[in-house]
Every structure is written in structure tokens, then in C-alpha cells.
């Protein structure tokens, strides 16, 4: 993996009539991680959605950071499908089905493979979403409050997965409240 660094220049984001932030510039190099901090509604999720290509910036540019794995608040798991069928579908779109078993083991969801997603708890869905990000083998991970709803053991597993990802040259941008187990992150405060 030889990813380009993520370079953000003079980014501004307006939602409705409200200006969330402007003149935002930062760089995330290979192996680095960035904490997005700030109160609710300060624009952390919007910034992540901008980086994921889901919103268009009001002004400014985003360079690099592609492909990316995105963990949002919604789980994107269909209630009637089994977890394995769901994760396999996304891995197929990413062309990384070979990486899926390792990713499922990393977030400890392999035992849930045959369970329809409607029977999963919110923490289990969160872990499945993280397994999807890991399996994508994307150099940039965009995580929106990745530890929300996770138990202590899963939080530790996530920390280990993020460390492995960074050691391999991967980049992480995460919206957080408090610590999520990233070693030595950059910090960006919004709002």
C-alpha cells in the first residue's frame, strides 16, 4: 500500500444557513491519526462526510485520502440478511473478499456470521461496521465515534486493529469524545 497523504486546504462547510467551519487546513500523513474533537453539532460528522465524499465542500479542497473506509452512525446492514452475506457483499464491491476472514476475526464477529442482522445488538452492529472498514483494506479510515456502544474488550480490539493499520502506513481520522485508544494522535478542535 502506497497511499497519498490526505491534504485538506481552506475547507469550509455550510449546512443550511449555518456555517459549521471555515479555513480548515490539515494534513494526515501515512501512519498518522487525527482526532476530531468538539461539542455536539460542531461539525465533526459533517467533516467526516466531506472527507468521505458524501458532501461537497462549500469551499476549499481535499486532496488524496482515497480509497477510504467509512464508519458512520447508520449501520448499512439489511435486517433479513446474515452478517456474513452483508460483509461479503461489501468486500466484493471493494474487491477484498480475501481480507474478510481476518477482518471479522479482528473485531470478533466471526461467530455471528450466520445470524440475520436484525438479531444483532447495536454493539455487534458497530463491530460489524468496523470489520467492514478493516476488510476494505482502504488506506484511509474515517470513523465517526467508533467506540460508541462498544464494550471494553471490543474497544481494545479496535485499538489493536488501528495500531496495525497505522503500522502498515494507513491513516485514520476519527470523530471522538475522549480517548479511543489511538497512540499519539494529532488533534483538531471544532466549534
Amino acid at each position: 500500500m502506497s497511499p497519498e497523504p490526505l491534504i485538506v486546504t481552506n475547507l469550509a462547510c455550510q449546512r443550511g444557513n449555518r456555517l459549521l467551519f471555515e479555513n480548515l487546513s490539515f494534513t494526515v500523513n501515512r501512519g498518522e491519526a487525527l482526532h476530531l474533537e468538539g461539542p455536539n453539532g460542531s461539525g465533526k460528522s459533517s467533516l467526516l462526510r466531506l472527507l468521505a465524499g458524501l458532501l461537497r465542500p462549500t469551499s476549499g479542497t481535499i486532496h488524496g485520502g482515497n480509497p477510504r473506509g467509512f464508519l458512520g452512525h447508520e449501520t448499512a446492514l439489511k435486517p433479513r440478511m446474515t452478517l456474513l452475506a452483508e460483509l461479503t457483499h461489501w468486500a466484493r464491491l471493494d474487491g477484498t473478499t480475501a481480507a474478510l476472514p481476518t477482518a471479522m476475526a479482528a473485531m470478533n464477529v466471526a461467530a455471528l456470521a450466520d445470524i440475520p442482522c436484525k438479531h444483532l445488538s447495536s454493539g455487534q452492529r458497530r463491530r460489524a461496521g468496523l470489520a467492514r472498514v478493516i476488510a476494505s483494506s482502504a488506506p484511509l479510515w474515517l470513523l465517526d465515534e467508533p467506540t460508541a456502544g462498544l464494550d471494553t474488550a471490543s474497544t481494545a480490539r479496535l485499538a489493536a486493529a488501528m495500531a496495525t493499520h497505522r503500522a502498515a502506513g494507513g491513516m485514520i481520522v476519527a470523530a471522538v469524545h475522549g480517548d479511543i485508544g489511538l497512540a499519539d494522535p494529532q488533534r483538531l478542535r471544532l466549534g
Binding site: L54, R68, G72, H73, W90, L93
Partner: protein
């Protein structure tokens, strides 16, 4: 990638509890009309193609609230967009899957409907051909309307209002399939609808 998307949409349709709804609805309409029109076999045979076309149009509309809205709500569209997968491709896959899911069972049920409405064989075959040409456009219009109304309360009713005027050319050429050149016009109208629909649906799905 297109095939992966279609396969996934078909898997979701196959697991949906509403899988048989469109075709059941279609047969129900065909069965009820003879009772409503009364015992005039000539009249019934004359209006049968029109009845069946209206039934097909409404059958295409039945699942409109589940075509796009769930993907918007549960973050599936976000995951697709984050992978830079073109929404046009997603919409085209959805149209194909919706067509396979509603029109093929409907064509299979056509003989039953033909018997119930007392249609003769020549009319039946012509109608089958016309439905084969016209139903892809109905599927495309349903997906466009679903994309436009996704996330709105009561989107299904609004989707109906959006589709009905747009479906008129298909309906007119489809019902008049016996007239010279009508099938060609039907095919042309269907092709234009199919060609434009993925772009229209994608523009609606990209709303921020």
C-alpha cells in the same frame, strides 16, 4: 461491479416479505374485473388489455416505498458513495432488479389473467410482447419516483402522482398494441425512459 449490485438487490427482493405482492395484486385485479363489468364477454374482451396494463402499472408501483428509502435511511447509499461507486450504476442495477422482481412473475401470471378476462390467443401474445417492451420503463419510472420521494413522509402516494403522467405514453402505446406501429413507438418510449431514468434517479440519490 454492476452484477454484484444486481445480485445483491435480487437477494434482498427474494428475502422480502412482499415478494409475491405485485403478482398477487395483478391476478386479483384481473379476477375482480369480470365481476365488476358484468356478464358481457365481448365488452370484457375489448377492455381486457387496458385492465391488464393498469394492473401492471400499479403492480410496478406497489414496492415503491422499499426501492430506495431503506438504503437512504440505513446508510447503504453512504457506503456506496464513500466507495466512489457512481449512483447511476446503483440506479441502473436497481431498475434491472426491480424489473426482474416484478415483471417476470407478472408475465408468468399473464396466462391466468388472460383466461380470467376471456382474451383470445392472438390478443394474449400481443399483450405479452407489449408488456415485455413496456414493463422495463415502468420499473425505471418506479425507481426514479422512489429516489425522488425517499426520506419523505408519505412518499409512496407522492411517488404515484409523479409516475402516473410519465407512464402515460407507455400505457397508451401498450394498450393500443394492435394498431400499426404502436409496438415500435412503445419500444421507443420505453428505451428513452430507460436511458434517462438512471441519471434522474442518481441526481435525486445524491441529494445532500
Amino acid at each position: 461491479m454492476f452484477l454484484t449490485l444486481v445480485r445483491r438487490d435480487l437477494a434482498l427482493i427474494a428475502r422480502s416479505p412482499a415478494l409475491w405482492m405485485p403478482v398477487l395484486f395483478f391476478i386479483l385485479v384481473a379476477a375482480l374485473f369480470p365481476f365488476a363489468v358484468g356478464p358481457d364477454a365481448r365488452l370484457l374482451a375489448r377492455i381486457a388489455p387496458g385492465i391488464i396494463w393498469v394492473a401492471a402499472l400499479l403492480a410496478a408501483l406497489l414496492p415503491v416505498e422499499t426501492l430506495i428509502a431503506p438504503d437512504l435511511e440505513d446508510g447503504t447509499l453512504d457506503q456506496l458513495a464513500a466507495r466512489d461507486i457512481p449512483m447511476e450504476l446503483v440506479a441502473a442495477a436497481r431498475i434491472l432488479a426491480h424489473w426482474l422482481g416484478f415483471a417476470l412473475p407478472l408475465l408468468a401470471a399473464l396466462p391466468i389473467a388472460a383466461v380470467l378476462t376471456g382474451m383470445d390467443a392472438a390478443t394474449g401474445w400481443r399483450l405479452a410482447l407489449a408488456l415485455l417492451l413496456g414493463t422495463p420503463a415502468l420499473a425505471a419510472l418506479a425507481v426514479v419516483a422512489a429516489a425522488l420521494t425517499a426520506g419523505l413522509r408519505g412518499g409512496g402516494a407522492l411517488a404515484g402522482l409523479i409516475i402516473l403522467p410519465l407512464a402515460l405514453p407507455i400505457l397508451i402505446f401498450g394498450v393500443g398494441a394492435a394498431a400499426p406501429g404502436a409496438l415500435k413507438l412503445l419500444a421507443a418510449a420505453s428505451l428513452v425512459t430507460l436511458a434517462l431514468a438512471p441519471f434522474a434517479a442518481a441526481a435525486a440519490m445524491r441529494q445532500e
